[in-house]
């Protein structure tokens, strides 16, 4: 009860709440709104038949809450650590948007990208409300719980648990909640019905979601659904520019999934690592770090992959390596957050071969929201200039280092 009294202490929050409570309310709801609601409720109550595939896609509202939030964070935190090469979009978020609603489901996800020497394979589990578990074949397990605002990545070999608080990524959190609006745009447009096909040995209906209905980052989505049950059999999607491809198969809808699978508590015996809030400083420090350990030259790519880790392991004291790796992760998360929240668009890394300290050559540029000119960061990591798009450096690469 004492804590309830504390709630009443005045401060800006109390004043803010008062403005909401004391603002005059118009009379409502209107008779029309009430009548519409009654109609909708009677309809919902009488609906007994199993919804068709497209009706289930239309009810995908819940999956935006599950998938976009959780999946984007998982992708940014896990896939992004190994996959992210700058501006390519987020795999799981796009995939999740297209899987029809169910209380739980599991599937296999295979992701291919130029940066990867071989495709990444995940077993993915989803459970309402807002929970995702991704088990990578290379051993890392990522779990996201949107309701609790947390993502945890478990490395069973090293007995480490890396924790990300979604509150530290307000841009991503805000962005992913808005995917509901994007999904409504998607399902308002009509997916193309490409007819019946045989897929993975089953008779399936092939739907394609056209590019104009896609959220940023995705080019084409193909979905094959079992003609008898409407359940998805296969989903394929490509990133814009075809820089990544994702295939989802082995769907199981509504399997029984224990809540323990989605626990975001640090397991016993694991050491906890907090990734911390990404800041602009992490971008500068991360770029500098990558250049320093590449012969004072910015690398071909900013991708955080196994090759980079092995290279750094040979150069950075073991005691420092973990912290530096986290810093690089925060660098990527910061950039990803700006891009996904559309605070930055047309972000490009152009630093390959630029000498650290060279204030005449750019290493990255982006277009801030609402701006007419691009911002350009130069090789000294201090100089930032405005530049017309027509004058931006032509050489841009996002390829991973060999």
């Amino acid at each position: 009860m004492g804590s309830e009294k504390k709630d009443k202490q005045g401060d800006i929050v109390d004043e803010a709440v008062r403005t909401l409570l004391e603002a005059p309310l118009p009379p409502g709801p209107s008779d029309e709104a009430l009548a519409r609601t009654l109609t909708a409720v009677r309809q919902a109550d009488s609906m007994a038949a199993r919804p068709t595939l497209m009706e289930r896609i239309r009810s995908m509202n819940r999956w935006t809450k599950v998938g976009t939030a959780a999946a984007m964070i998982v992708a940014a935190a896990v896939c992004g650590f190994l996959l992210f090469s700058g501006g390519g979009g987020v795999a799981f978020a796009d995939v999740k948007k297209r899987i029809q609603a169910a209380e739980t489901f599991t599937c296999k996800v295979v992701t291919s990208a130029p940066e990867l020497k071989q495709p990444m394979v995940f077993k993915a589990y989803f459970k309402e409300p807002g929970r995702l578990r991704a088990e990578a074949t290379f051993g890392v397990i990522s779990i996201a719980d949107v309701q609790k605002g947390k993502v945890i990545m478990l490395n069973p070999k090293a007995k480490e648990a890396t924790v990300i608080n979604l509150a530290d990524l307000p841009e991503i959190q805000q962005q992913q909640m808005g995917f509901l609006a994007e999904l409504k745009e998607l399902i308002e447009g009509k997916p193309q019905d490409l007819g019946e096909e045989k897929i993975d040995g089953a008779a399936a209906r092939h739907y394609r979601i056209p590019p104009e209905n896609q959220a940023a980052g995705v080019s084409v989505v193909d979905l094959w659904a079992d003609v008898k049950t409407g359940d998805p059999i296969r989903v394929e999607l490509e990133g814009r520019g075809h820089e990544y491809q994702i295939t989802m198969t082995d769907f199981r809808l509504n399997p029984r999934l224990d809540d323990k699978l989605f626990s975001i508590e640090v397991p016993e015996g694991y050491s906890r690592i907090n990734i911390g809030r990404p800041r602009w400083k992490d971008v500068l420090d991360g770029l500098r770090f990558m250049a320093v350990h590449n012969g004072s030259t910015f690398p071909e790519s900013l991708a955080m992959n196994i090759e980079l880790y092995k290279k750094l392991r040979g150069k950075v004291p073991k005691a420092d390596l973990k912290e530096k790796w986290l810093m690089l992760g925060r660098m990527h998360l910061f950039i990803e957050a700006q891009v996904q929240a559309q605070q930055w668009s047309q972000w490009k890394y152009v630093g390959a071969g630029v000498k650290l300290g060279d204030r005449t050559r750019p290493v990255m540029h982006w277009l801030p929201k609402g701006a007419a000119k691009h911002k350009v960061l130069y090789g000294d990591l201090k100089r930032i200039e405005d530049m017309d798009a027509s004058k931006l450096p032509g050489r841009a690469t996002t390829k991973a280092a060999a």
């Binding site: 909401l20 603002a23 709801p29 409720v41 605002g149 962005q175 808005g178």
Partner: protein, 169 residues
Amino acid sequence: MTDWDTIVTEHAPAVWRTAYRLLSNEADASDCMQEAFVSAVGVARREAVQNWPALLKRLATTRALDRLRARMRESARRTAPVDMAALADGDCGPERRSERRELAGRVRQALSRLPRQQAEVFCLRFLSGMSYTEIADHLGLRANNVGVLLHRARSKLREMLAEAQERPG
């Protein structure tokens, strides 16, 4: 068998007001109200509902927060942000109305950025007047958890309402 006509007719005004406080838009509040009642149909199928007002407020709050986040997302796409201001308070002078309007807009934006559960608990407590016990019952939490979530929500809101973001542009 649930008498939906009575439930909707009796509780629609309170549900609508809950949504309107967060959204400050009649059409959005009406849509949110409809979604809340349709969701209630699903809940009623799974379990016996003991407290309709509390359930409906919770569903309306959740839906309204979702819309708020979607609106913030949409406004991020535009050059000119959506005006989130509350209606003018008729008892205030123009300058005071403007300040209150601005604060109302900021707190809505801040709420849209809180973690889901924190935002929900905060709104149910301070905008809908639910007790810790009611909130705990409806969200499947312990009363202690509710207190912790509220504390975190308030701290975060305080920070966001006062914070000036540093970014290069």
